[in-house]
Structure formats: C-alpha cells, structure tokens
Symmetry: C3
Subunit: 388 residues, 3 copies
Amino acid sequence: MPGTVLDGVAERLPAAVREALLAPLVDHHCHGVRRDDLDRDAFEIAMTEAGTPAPPGATHFDTPLGLAIRRWCAPVLGLPPHAAPDDYLARRAELGAAEANRRLLTAAGVAAFLVDTGLDDAGLLSAAEMAAACGAQARKIVRLERVEQRVVAGGPDAAAYADRLADELAAATADAVGIKSIAAYRHGLDLDPARPSRREVVAAAGRRLADPGGRLADPVLLRHLLWAGVDAVRERGLPLQFHCGFGDTDVVLHRADPALLTGFIRAVAPCGVPVVLLHCYPYHRQAAYLAAVYPHVYADVGLALTHTAAGSPAVLGELLELAPFHKQMYSSDCYGLAEACHLGALYHRRGLAAALAARIEAGEWSAADAARIARMIGSENARRVYRL
Amino acid sequence: MPGTVLDGVAERLPAAVREALLAPLVDHHCHGVRRDDLDRDAFEIAMTEAGTPAPPGATHFDTPLGLAIRRWCAPVLGLPPHAAPDDYLARRAELGAAEANRRLLTAAGVAAFLVDTGLDDAGLLSAAEMAAACGAQARKIVRLERVEQRVVAGGPDAAAYADRLADELAAATADAVGIKSIAAYRHGLDLDPARPSRREVVAAAGRRLADPGGRLADPVLLRHLLWAGVDAVRERGLPLQFHCGFGDTDVVLHRADPALLTGFIRAVAPCGVPVVLLHCYPYHRQAAYLAAVYPHVYADVGLALTHTAAGSPAVLGELLELAPFHKQMYSSDCYGLAEACHLGALYHRRGLAAALAARIEAGEWSAADAARIARMIGSENARRVYRL
Amino acid sequence: MPGTVLDGVAERLPAAVREALLAPLVDHHCHGVRRDDLDRDAFEIAMTEAGTPAPPGATHFDTPLGLAIRRWCAPVLGLPPHAAPDDYLARRAELGAAEANRRLLTAAGVAAFLVDTGLDDAGLLSAAEMAAACGAQARKIVRLERVEQRVVAGGPDAAAYADRLADELAAATADAVGIKSIAAYRHGLDLDPARPSRREVVAAAGRRLADPGGRLADPVLLRHLLWAGVDAVRERGLPLQFHCGFGDTDVVLHRADPALLTGFIRAVAPCGVPVVLLHCYPYHRQAAYLAAVYPHVYADVGLALTHTAAGSPAVLGELLELAPFHKQMYSSDCYGLAEACHLGALYHRRGLAAALAARIEAGEWSAADAARIARMIGSENARRVYRL
C-alpha cells in the first residue's frame, strides 16, 4: 500500500528520500476509531467537525476530505479511486468495521500511536486495540479536563479539590507519555498565564462543585489545571499538548491562536516541560514562530492536513517556512474514522514529498538533508520528546 | 470572449470541466458600474479602495489590478494586451462608457447579478440597467444601514424608531433576495451578539436621532439593526451578507475578521437565515472554517480576487482548503468600474481552473467531480441559497 | 557571484528582467555585522531569533536558514554547496571575519545600506564600515528608543524630559534618513494612537526616571516618543519605520500585527511622514492592505525572507498580492551575520524572479512591466522615500 502513497511525486525523489518518507511514522496525537459499522448518516457526522448533518440537499462528502476518502481510501477497501459515496459505504459494510479499520490503519504505516484517552466512549478502539489492529505500538496521553471531571464526579469539598486533582493526575499520568489541554475548547487560550493562588482555586472549586455535571470552563480552574498538570509531569519532563486552532464548534477560532499562549510558554519554560502545539490551522505560522524562538515549543498541523486534503501541501509548506526541523512532528488527530488515520499519514507524506522534491529540484537542499529531515519530522522528534 | 479567459490553462482541463468553468455565473454580490465617462483621475480613484490619488509620481495602475486591467480588459475594448494606461483610457473614452460597460459586463459571462442597492448614487447603473447592459438577470440585496438612514432621515421619535425600522425593512425587502450588513465598516464585527433590549434601543435611538446626519456607528443600534434585518427575512429564509475583511479605509482590518462573528453565527442559527461572509481577505481561511462547521454559513473571496489579480489563485486556493463545496460562492463585488466585474469573473474562472487542473493532474479529483464543483461554486449554490 | 543567484530561474526570464533583478539593491533596513570571528556556539546564537542554543541534541543549522547558509553562503567562501556546518565554520575562520564579511556583503549586491544604529555594540560594523566592506553607500536610521535611553541616562527631571528628548531627537536625526520604532518589542502595537498630554508625559517620565536602568515600556512614553519622533522629522518628511511581526522573544506576536497601527496611521497622515512596516510576517497581508489604502504607508518582508529561506517565495508572493508596486521595498534586516545580508538579497531576488517568471509565463505581465517593477521594489522606491 505505501507504494501508491507517493503516486505522482515519487519519481521526483531520490531513493533515500522516498524511503525516509515511507518509513513508519509516530502519530503523536490521535484518538480511537469506531469499532462499529457506520451507516451513511453516522459516517457523515463522523467525517466533519460540524457535529451536524450537511444542509438539506448537500453532503459532507462534498468537502476536500470527502473527495479524499473516495480517492485514497476506496482502493484500500478494494474499490477503484473516486468511488461514489454509497458504493464506498456499501463496501465498507461488506468488509465490516474491523476489517476496514485493519486495512486503513495498516495502510497508514504507523509505528506508534500516542492516544488521547480522554474521550470516554466504549465505541472507540482503546489505545491497545488501535495498536493491535495494525501491529503498531500505543502509548497514552492524558487529557487534563477528563481527569478533572473525574475528580469533580467524586464530590470532594472545595478545600480538597486541589489535592484530589493532584492525586488523580499523578495516578493518571503514571503510565502516560504526555498530557493534553483542551482549554481552547473551554475558554480560549487567552488565559492569564500565572498559577492561581490557593485561595482563588478554593473559591472557584466551590462554584464548580455546585454544578458537578457542568463542563470545566472557569478560567481560574483551567489555569490551575494546566499548572497541576505541569506539576504532575515536570519531574519526568513529559510534554504538554495544547489544542490550537480549528476543531469543532466549541472553539472560538481567534481565541485558539497559539500566539495567545506566549505568556504561558514563557512562564512554563523553567519547568522542563515541552509544549506541543497541535493542529494550529490557520495559525500554524504563529505556531512555527513560537517553535522557532522558544526551545521547549513544538508544533504540528495534524487534523488540518486531513481536512484540507488536496490543498494540504500548502498548509504543510507554511509550517516548513519557519519551524525548525527538530521541532515539527506528525499527527493525524484521527477520531472515529480510520480513514482519517490513513489520510493524515498520506497527506503528511505527500505534502512533505512535494516540499522536499521542490527544494531538491531548486538546488536548495541536498537529498541527504531532505531524507534526514523527513525522518526527524516523521518519527525521530516524537521519539525524543515523548521518550518512547 | 470566454474563449480567451482560460488561456494557458484550458489545455490542462477535460472538456466537461472547461464547460463548467465557462458556464454563466451568478454574481451574488456586486454594485452598479458608473454610467459616465471617466477621465484618468476619476478612473484611478475608482480602481482603488484607498479613496485617494496615488502618491506623487506614482499611479494606481502600478498595482496588481492595474496590470490586470491592461492585460485582460484592453482586448475586450479592442486593444492589444498590456496597453498603456493612457491608451486604454483613450480607447475607453472613444467607445463611450455605455459601450465599454456593455463589452466588459458581457465578457464577464454572468447570468444574474445580485446588486447591493445601498449606494445612493445616480451615477451608477441600477440593478435593472446592469442586467440590461449584458442580457443578465438582476435581483436586489438590501443594505441594512441604508434603510436605517432613511428611517432616521424621517425624524421619528426615539420610541418609534424600532417600529419604523421594522416597517421600512419589511417594505425594502419585499422584492429583495437578501440583506447585507456593513457593521464591519461602522464599528467592527466584535459586536455583542445578543439582541439588545427595547430599553437600550430607545436610549441609543435618542442619541442617534439627535444627530440625524451622522453615520450609524452605535453598537447597540448596529446589533438591533442586524436582528431587525433577521426578523424581516427569517420567514422567507433569505440570507444575511456581512462585509468581512479588506475594503476601504473605513475598515479596521483586524476588527473585520469573520471569526469575530462566531457568537452571532451561533445565536442566529435557529432563525433559518443563512449567513454569507463576503470578501474575507486576509481572513478567508477563518471564513472557510466557519462555513465548514456551521450549516448556515457560506463564504466567498469576492473583491479579493479582483484586487490580487495575478496573485489570486493562491487566495482562491486557500478558500478551497477547508470550505465545503456547497458553501462557496462567486461574487465580483464590482463597484463603479465594469472592469472589476469582468476581472472578478475572469480570476474566479482562472483560479478555479488552476486549482482543478492541479487536483485532476495529481489524481486527487475526477474530472466529473471537478466539473460538478465548478458549477456548484459558480452558480448553483447561489441559486439555492438566494432562491433564485 | 550575482551570476549564480538566479540559478534555476534565470532561463525563464527575459534579459531585461534578469538585469533588473541583478541590479544593486537598496537595503533600507539593516544592522551591522560582527567584526570578530565566531565559534560554533556564537554562530548558532547569531543565526536564530531565539537568543538561546538549540535544545540538547539539536542545532540551529537544522532550520531553513541553516540549510540556506550551507547552500548559498558556502560557495561564496569557496566551499561546495551543502557543506557541513563544521566545515563551513572552519572555512569561515580560515578566511577570517573581515574577508568573510567582505565576500558575503559584496555578494549581496547592495548599493546602499540604511543602518539602524540603535544597537550599541562595538562588535558590530558601523554604517561606514558596512559600506566600506563592499563599496556601498551607507546612511543612518535613528532608533527612537535608543535616543530615549540616552536622555534618561542623562538624568533630567521629569519636567525637562520632553524638551531633552526633543533636543536629542533633533540632534540624532540631523544626518539620518529615517527613524525607527520598536514599540512592538516594548509594549505591542496596540497603543492608543493619540499624542499624550504634557501632564501625562511628565507623570510617566517621573516614574521612568525613578528606574533609569529599565527599558522603556510605558505606553504613554512610547506614544510620546512616536510623536516626538514625528515632530523631529516631519519638516523633512523622513520616514518612520515600525518593527512589525516576528522577531526575537521580546515580541508577543499577535500584538505586533501591523493592523493594530491603523489608528496611528490615520492620525499621522497629515504630517507628511511616510510609515514603513518592517518584516510583518505572518501579518504581511495585513501590511499589504495598509500599503494599498493609505498613501503614506510602505511595507517589506525583510527578515522573513532570510529565515523562511527555501520557503520564502510564498511569503514574497503574498506581499505581492495586494501591495502596490510603488509601496514595496527591500530589506535584509541582517544583524550580526553577513550571511543574513547575502541571503536576504538572494531570496529577494530569487522569490521575485519566480513571481515575475510565473506572471510573464501566464501572460499576466509584460516583460517590460516586470523589469520596471523589479527596479521599483529593489531600489527606486527606497531612493524616493528616503530621499537618497
């Protein structure tokens, strides 16, 4: 399968660069894919960040991602490229979800998945199941807000909130390789970077515990959670991931600009905790700048490549403009659809292939450097930063 | 004339895609063009968003748009490509404005104009005259701020302001296909999305009516006007257009980022009123995101294509990255110069042609899908959304 | 040396365009380069905006700029392209800093340097030494914050602060061709555009003078300094440069968006002082918009081209989308490394060459216009605006 991933660009690349591009990836941020068969309605919901069906008379297949599924995933399931949506879904049902997942995850060519386990949905494959489906490794990323939700569900009093959270974070991160914040979804990244005082936390926890079913949106507690997460992992130097930029409708886009994290990035620098900026689109140039000037900051354009699909080489090209090569990583951010896992990897390889080919052809980079950079971004940086 | 529009890219496209690209467009946002002959000074003012002459020793012809007029409009008037500015204007004068307009509007290949009639300038062709000049249809878009100005000019007392506005909006929109807000020009899109209270409106109307010659810039009244507009058209489900992004010097660019409309977009969702984000440059990726996740949001890059001209394929390419194909539309936003009508259409076709050719050549999209998408963006989406 | 600058693109260009691109540039914003030999650690610090070494196991050579130095500067020092970092530095040491500087500055093909003399570092070549090293001219740009620091160091009382500043600015600008503000580094460009009152200035000066060793960060004094700078040069109409967009870690990126200067740009318009927006990345489209609609605003993407290196044609292409050709300028913003001077010029020429070739090949621009525009951007605009 990897043989077709570089169709149309492989012949522009020296063999060493092709090999580096096709080498197994570390997908440093993803979720589980669904274990059940999906009918058209369910599949359409799963393929969009909208969370809603397409408007009457329209279909989410009429998106860059929709055309990419028909183009690149159809052959993985044994259909010709550009299969019609209903034909694609009929074939997927015929194979069954397990086999479709196996084929698509395998085709992604991934050596290790770092799985955000914060989505409590038994319909999703666990990290271990993701790994088993395609012979990869899997490690866990702890979503901070999920841990906090568990603490709140336990019903502590406000004075015990911080200690209970610290305990839960210590336990949850014991076998993890990193932590993740979705503050961008709950408030925005325009948070005061300072660690809140104990008094502030107790007061805010009191309000929070009065409505234990609610979502964490209080900026004091979100700040506290970030610092509590840092405390839990700083000794081991595990990275802290931030959702940045586009995602579902919980996000207010301009408040998810990673540049808003500048104060926090400065404040956390002495802790030895790498900060990894996820997705970032359309603020990936801002993320690249932060990765360029702060030694502990890393960036990817996961999710963006999958959704921009045929247009993704330009997005990857913009990350390459300023981000040091030892600061970029690969992720699919797949969630629900194994197609997103395959396409994330495919467009990473194709986009990087196009960028490398152009630079080699222009005489800008040597083939040896191009191959080396492909391996750094594809897996080596993640192995180093997550201590895999 | 359409035969030359795709010069240099046509040969890369299957016949069905060429035909789809050359099919008549719906220009879903434009203004009238001037009926009078224009000398060089007047033409230069009309070709810029600056509103002022170029600095001493410089000319607005030394812009991407200026070179595009010389390249693409000169042949429409019977001159060779790249004609000098003075030769171009001499030829234009020789033909007369009516004939120049007829040629340029016809060359645009437009089936229907949706005309913002909010500019009260007898020197501009009316919607009907625009249509008559080139055998197209024309429909009316009501500019909300213009209706409000008429209400204020009528001198109601503050308590009657809201009712008078509702009456005027009902009357003005009776034969319209949509409404338009220029809140971005008067305040910025960073408005509280909530409908203001009656008490707030009466108080603000009192201040407004004390200075009836002034422009509407009060945020309470701008918010009220938006919701009054929604009330006027919600039963018929007509769209609400927003000026976003670049335009003349009334705009403060970063306050015209469509992401600032997120709260309003969420609030208006239950009303069944589509929200159409116009222009958007350089925030068109933000607009594409909004169109991707909110079922009632649409986007275009009108005006931006005309002004970026030879650089416009990159702009259109960025809209194509994330915006669903059933959410993109075509507009020229021409105003004053028939050249802008022609060039808007031309760069839409050329930019889309380049994007489609690249995707077909890379094996990403089938020719059939490419042709279908070209028709959706070029006219079908607008016909559906504006109920033409 | 200029013969190789256009390698790979020269053959796509008519001779007149090639000549225009290779003509000597005016580098309208740069700093001095270091006079001493640099070991690897010192060189690595000098090649980044981070101000810190690369993380353990990584090197700043693994950046777009690092690969560009190995590709393009190595041959200037007599090495093959893509020389290894240690080989490059060994050869540089062998030649000595003076000879390396001479070769690299000469290879830049610059007719005149406008040098920001605000960095008080005897290790940097002075403006005159920059000029002497390669047979160019050099003129001085006065950094406002440096003049203010001198005033504060003199220990005036608060009531005399403004007068002393005015005197110092008059003296400092007497032989200068422009002034420069780094308010973006000290506060952000989100400053109130109005000139502060004398009472406000005296009060703020009192606070400032209580800590004379501190950096100027008070927004009242930064605003006062801007207007004091304008007062000093308005009679001669000298330009005011603003650092915008990316730079070192003193900047908070989103607060360096040049769109935030809109209010100041409007306020200063009657003064006859051109406003020049430097760097601007990743907000260069915003800068292009401002240059398009305000007659006294100019823009460049200096520093960005050097650091984005192989990716720089896309950046330059975005500035070209909307900025009038009489409003764009060239700068390297080189500082410390002569390599940055050479690469800024090289990527300006290569990026512009690619943009011009694409436009000529698409039939968009004539060769004569392309050549004319290359000369405007490369030197003529700067000669006019800075009255050289």
